[in-house]
Symmetry: D2
């Protein structure tokens, strides 16, 4: 590759990240990827874990780095991967999250009525045009239409580079050490057998610890009560702002947001406009909205924005069974009394729903091990902990009835 | 302290940060301190070191944590520190940076014509009123009017907790491992002798490595060419936006910025307004300004904003001697030709100046050691590296003449 | 304490270990404790994990360090611990392993027919005389006859400082990162309720990861096949040397070993002699025996010593059901043929037996948690992994039938 | 390579060490290399830093690991290295310390009157015969007779893999964090220009920190007073034991030691015997000697052995000028009086001499940098600390006049 583009990034997590080729360099400097610098990886998690300010940009680089290590390992062990395929997986992993919007998952579907994967794919097609077809194989791998299926598993599977990086990185930046994953050991144990990614049996303890770490990250971080509260408030605030805007209220918005508030992905004619608004949209648009909302006269929006900006978050209660509607009604009454507002406004300030852990999926895509006899066997053939137990919890979230914070 | 306020923060750097008392808890949740969550510690350094997204909020907690360790050590070694004094140093270190504006040092003096320390003090006085005088001793320590002078040295001195935390934290988040400081060892070696903070002689190697690490952080991070370029561009963009605004151009600004663009700290009548605008001002206001500026017709502002948002940064050249004005003129001509714009606009797009390392100050406040004979001696009485050598470099910074980035 | 005795040890694991008082300092420099410098913590594990050369001495210091952190935490949370009790637990943890012989568990019961705990106690009584009764309370705590039962739990229980240190230290020195334990987080979560050590509920994930880490250490390290082989060979070699010595063979032995080979703890008249031989006995005596045995004409002893010194270890096979005696006989025949020796010698060269994990004990001493309602509940009331599953494995261990090593 | 020999070592320092080829595997399992498991890397340093128990074996593996990383880097950057040359540097670095005797440098020249390098070379020639000439190129590289000189620089030079590993490893195991070296960054910055190893300019801060770290390791560890004392005592004990043995005293020795005590390398006829005794000689022989000496009636040997075994070390005083002989005489008198022995015995119990730092050598083999203009320039052309300052210190070492230890 050209010397000018031999770029090394410093990374607190991995030390150094070396950019493997020119096209990767050129893609990184494209505004679509640079935009990920302004998309926080974990939404509003930093309100609970103040270190968790890392971005989708850094995650994309990190996943790319792990991919280079993995490809190197697999090639050393005799798996045939052509230069074109190698470039394709690098591109695919670099761009896999390019369709994320502000605060990542927190506002997904609310701002644009579509999955982030579909937006990623739309933007990859756009880039493929700009780069004159050089992303074609990457798109095949990303959409699992490439004949070597293990390449797709590296992008999206039980042990893909996306997951290895985000668990590692999220654990690192939140400081939740129990969520640390031995990514280097897992990668050293990977093999491809019959076009399928497997783990050598001696890596079983790394896998066990990986599954425990993942479970811990769900309960300690991804489903943390305070984070849940902040993200419910954020959704409500954005929704309320959109309503007010569509009703004609004078509310300062970025140009991108005005387009997005008025358009729908399901309306195919609006997709082009939506997409060009989307590539200019990031956390800043939303934060600026919240800050401006502090000067807004709408009670609900103001309450939500103030709570988010000054970290005066709503209370959350959890339960393994659904909350009874009469209990929720009681809460609404108390809140209305406490805030001295009309009970009818409560639907925008008291939220109920259900939260679930993403579970270790036994059906579809179980982790496969290569046992000492050389057979490929499912992880469940080993006696490990009950990592599958999906736990669902119902929540109710509402403004605090006292004036203490935290 | 009350059980409800027994708060522990996770910190990737130190593991856990325990809040030592109720008033510290209450101050942390005050909007003035919460605002520091939106002030990046290192300005635009993350454009070079993508992990460097940590905030003044996290730095304030970190410095507080080191202070609790230090006070604990000093007390164990027999230094008398009353409960009131202990609370005072905790408050003072927590609030020492409360007067920082958007992007920390990058826009200091430009947005408001005063040092951040003076703003910190102004806000502490404001908080002292709100907290009914409970910050009085803290303010004495902060302004070095407390009779125990070593307390002030812990806030502001060659080895203060501010510096120990920021070097540690900046090194951690940039991933510049060579800048790592053995804060725990230094703290273990601190003593108070004759109301003066000293280091036990056996800690001399920790001090040596600290001074080298600091020097490395200056050259690798704080004075990094790319960071310098980004911050010069940021200043120019904000300055240009202010000009345009004052000329009546239609440019979307946050409410705080409109006040700040129209007022001056040197005009005492405007200070109250400035201060209340200031406490609502953070990185978001500036980033939103830049993003909006992408839709602005002013050539210079648009060029600067686009460069900052899409990381298409100006080139920087350094020299130990000043650049000759004819050479700078030549650059201006080339840039004007390349950009096809009037040479008169070049003063806003070609920047010259001088950058200097903060040096190890031998005159005023040299590090003191307690040698094995029990004498307090200056660090310079030991033969160490030439840490004093302040190096100044002249720079010229201008738009790239090619289309490559990075 | 006296300034001279203010000693700080450097520890790769914890950074610094500070000696808390004069008597601890004096005990550390006593030959009984210094002897632990020559007792390897993990027997012959370094033949598999070359970093695992740490000693009982370092473990004793490490456990002491964790005890100082824990006592500090408990006192901060309001548990009353007198200065005398504090000193007692420090002494008890420092000395808890003083009765370990060469290679720790590997030769326990073989060299002296008694548990190491009983030898520890015997030596503590001896030290108590030398220190004029200052160990009396420590002995009460060690033997669980002190009225504050939680003090004993800190020495010997599911979450005692012994275990926290050895898991941490063994994981560190073997490099088995999956065995790393979050000792600092666990200690931060400890409380004493009703004279009982409990963990606050929010520490449950640290406990879960602790239990997984422990299980991993058992399978990856403590019950590692190669380590098992080396320790079976070591036992056989020592046993054979003792037989030869008692038969009058000319075999060079240390003075301590000659006493130990001729005496028995069950013969009370020999205990004094045994104990004074024991306090001069360490890994060196055994290693020197093995090295001298290389010049010995006895076939079995020579084969075993050569295998241990030059790392030519026997093969181990594992099975969940016992090996059939006819299969073992077949192995003996093959080995005899391969080595060209008499089949009758095989009983000393082919070993069978059973290995078991120490299990998480649900009956006796389950970990207790303090739930959010303030109730003390057993860990099993939370849904975690099946950490209890004790797994037993049968083994057969015999000389390799080829000439390859490793 | 054969699957059976695909061996991975766990290393606390680097995580994993992968054995690069079959012959390396076979050499590692040779008794000459296995013997290094019983040679401590840092002599008696563990008496001061209890973690410093690592061995020459682990260091050899570590240096090998760094070599594989370096060769990989250099090849990526276009340096041509044939498979044969690659194998040769791996062999040469693995075996570079094979000639070290018990406690590494501590007894060098005393036990055998020759450098360890010459013994390494003698053993390499021996192995070359056993391996039928496959070490020929390795020996060329080791002795700097290979035409590619940079290969030798990787084995022995200012930035060789030996040094990078021992500084890293010694810092790690002593717990002297200030001595930590950024080996990964330095390796990433290496290049070969004109058959010469150079460092890219952007690595200058890593080099600076490396030089400071090295200096710190000298003063904190390698020349530590207590370590100096222990090693002087060890030398005196071994010397005294040899005298006694040659005088016919009944002193238990290992077979190897009896040969070594009676032979000389300068007598060429004795070299074969010496070499075969040497390959059976390790720390165990010396430790067993010391332990047996506790039962010896010779006053001096007993005093030295007891001090070493029970860590009752002699006092050391340092001075930048030589001690006057009358002051030394005075010390001898005081010691003689205190110990109640004849003053004539003092020559064996009071030691004087000089200790020096190995210095950064400007003359011969200065570190070269590749500056940004593509020129190779010496490190001294950059303004860094005065790393060259060799400091010599005179010492006097004698039995303590009080009964306190530590």
């Amino acid at each position: 590759m050209s010397v000018n583009k031999r770029k090394i990034f410093n990374d607190p997590v991995y030390g150094f990240i070396t950019i493997p080729s020119d096209i990767i360099f050129d893609l990184i400097q494209h505004p679509y990827v640079q935009r990920l610098r302004r998309i926080s990886q974990l939404g509003l998690t930093h309100l609970t874990y103040p270190g968790a300010l890392h971005t989708r940009f850094h995650h994309a680089l990190g996943a790319l780095h792990l991919m280079t290590l993995t490809i190197d390992q697999l090639k050393q062990k005799g798996t045939v991967i052509s230069a074109e395929e190698e470039e394709a997986v690098y591109i695919a992993i670099l761009l896999h999250d390019i369709g994320h919007g502000p605060f990542s998952h927190a506002l997904e579907h609310l701002l644009i009525d579509v999955d982030h994967e579909e937006l990623s794919l739309a933007l990859m097609h756009e880039l493929n045009q700009q780069f004159e077809g050089r992303l074609t194989v990457a798109i095949e791998v990303f959409t699992n239409r490439h004949h070597k299926r293990f390449l797709h598993q590296l992008i999206s599977g039980q042990l893909d580079m996306d997951r290895l990086d985000y668990l590692t990185r999220d654990s690192f930046y939140t400081g939740v050490m129990e969520g640390k994953v031995g990514y280097d050991r897992i990668i050293k144990m990977l093999r491809v057998i019959d076009d399928q990614l497997v783990v050598e049996e001696k890596g079983i303890y790394s896998i066990e610890k990986f599954l425990v770490a993942r479970k811990i990250m769900y309960w300690q971080v991804y489903l943390h009560k305070t984070v849940l509260s902040a993200e419910l408030m954020l959704k409500a605030a954005v929704k309320r702002a959109q309503e007010l805007y569509l009703q004609g209220a004078a509310i300062q918005l970025s140009k991108s947001l005005t387009t997005i508030f008025q358009s729908s992905w399901s309306n195919k004619d609006q997709r082009d406009d939506l997409l060009s608004a989307f590539v200019s949209l990031d956390d800043v648009d939303i934060l600026a909205l919240l800050k401006n909302a502090l000067y807004c006269s709408d009670f609900q929006l103001h309450l939500l924005a103030d709570g988010l900006i000054n970290r005066n978050l709503f209370r959350v209660e959890l339960s393994v069974i659904p909350f009874k509607s009469k209990d929720v009604d009681l809460i609404k009454e108390e809140v209305a009394t406490h805030l001295e507002i009309d009970i009818n406004l409560m639907d925008e300030l008291v939220f109920t729903g259900i939260e679930q852990t993403e579970t270790y999926d036994f059906q579809e895509s179980e982790i496969k091990l290569l046992n000492k006899k050389g057979e490929v066997v499912p992880l469940t053939s080993f006696q490990l902990g009950p990592f599958s137990s999906s736990v669902a919890k119902y929540y109710v979230c509402y403004p605090k009835l006292t004036n203490t914070a935290f």
